[in-house]
Symmetry: none
Subunit: 230 residues, 2 copies
DNA sequence: CGGTATTGTCACGAGTTTGTCACAGAGCTG
DNA sequence: CAGCTCTGTGACAAACTCGTGACAATACCG
């Protein structure tokens, strides 16, 4: 349930308060004062969730949400809007913003917690059917085909799911147990080191396409699929 | 992607919200407050999709779903159930009565949108009467004839439907159970491995036309008819 | 009615996939 | 550098998947 949350909020008081509550709830919190700052912060690692103030100086929350949705990497990261009272709920949820939920200020910690939990829970069975493409490697869930620089790649079912998960969550380190949860399923009892072996098999399978370095080992933390060449 | 959607929901607030979101997404929305009203509304024109609240005053959502399924005209209109949280048991029941999917309240517009898209896509490419042609293999539903590179091919009824389905949905992997649903029919009880046998018979029948490699086996996933030669 | 075609099921076996382990090597710490 | 931890690697056995041939039940048809 613990998650990395990006909080975009310009009022220092509210920012502090929310951050405190989220930290208490066991989440890691990254704060940004502006849309620009937020944009920079998601460059190299993705949050699990974005808390986005509706009104921001400069680029508004709505614009940022739209921008995130347009960005392939951020497309699947859920967004919760923070709105002042009186702003139309329909407007927030509906107008092509792509927000997943909204909360009206002032809100209680409990409410915030509940919304976050709900959104995170929904995110779990998020099997998109969209084709993913990174650094010349393309994976199509529908036709179940993987191609690297034109060369077709043969993968077993598990390797396929693993690669799919990593490609839909690039630039983010996942521990072995997180990968087991996400790729194998929460309830499965499998040794953590098994992940290593599958990562290896993936790397081997990708070798002919010169994509060996796509998956980084982050010592002591887990693995990460990097969107940019090292 | 735009569709006519019948929304059956008694709570005015939710009805309004959902209607707003659907309209924003480009759909036409018809609203009904009760099962009786919904029944009347489908008398003269069919929606593309029904969004059905689980709990309704009077006739419940599940009864209405059953009624729709019994009605020949509505039999092929997909139904998505809206359920309150914690009605897990009902989910099973709902799917049994012929609902195509279900969404747990509260749900986000994005989630709703995604489900609708998925359900519509699943139903969309219905069997047409048009001739299909792929890689020199042609199938004519009207004359019930199949020709591969000039050579006529003899197929049994089931093989014919299977090939027809695959040819109208190329480059897409289907699991055995999906194929059973689509080719054999939704509620037929047949062993999954039966699909294998029919795939084999298809391949055998296509052998004289040198189309053996038309149907790929995707290990752990199902079968796929590939539009391009390997 | 007999014969043929179609269909669903099964059992067997070759070939794959997968989880686990043991060991080697790499990386960090002091 | 020594000692420790962490990761890469090759091997292996068990589990699983799929193709295949055979068979019985049923439908179809002249």
């Amino acid at each position: 349930m613990a998650a990395t949350i990006l909080l975009v909020e310009d009022e220092p008081g509210i920012q502090e308060l929310v951050k405190f509550n989220l930290t208490q709830a066991g989440h890691s919190v990254l704060c940004a004062d502006s849309a620009e700052m937020a944009t920079g912060m998601v460059k190299h690692s993705l949050p699990d969730l974005v808390l986005l103030d509706w009104m921001l100086p400069g680029m508004s929350g709505i614009d940022l949400a739209r921008k995130f949705r347009a960005d392939g990497r951020m497309k699947n990261v859920p967004i919760i809007m923070l709105t002042a009272r009186g702003e139309e709920r329909d407007k927030v949820l509906g107008l092509e913003t792509g927000a997943d939920d909204y909360i009206t200020k002032p809100f209680s910690p409990r409410e915030l917690s509940a919304r976050i939990k709900a959104v995170l829970r929904r995110r779990a069975p998020q099997m998109t059917e969209d084709k993913v493409e990174i650094r010349g490697l393309s994976l199509d869930p529908v036709s179940h085909r993987v191609t690297g620089n034109g060369t077709p790649v043969e993968l077993g079912p598990t390797e396929f799911r693993l690669l799919h998960f990593l490609m839909t969550h690039p630039e983010r380190v996942y521990s072995r147990s997180q990968l087991l949860d996400q790729v194998w399923g929460d309830h499965v009892f499998v040794e953590e080191r098994t992940v290593d072996v599958h990562i290896r098999r993936l790397r081997l399978a990708l070798e002919p396409t010169r994509h060996e370095t796509l998956i980084d080992t982050v010592r002591g933390a887990g693995y990460r699929l990097s969107a940019q060449p090292a």
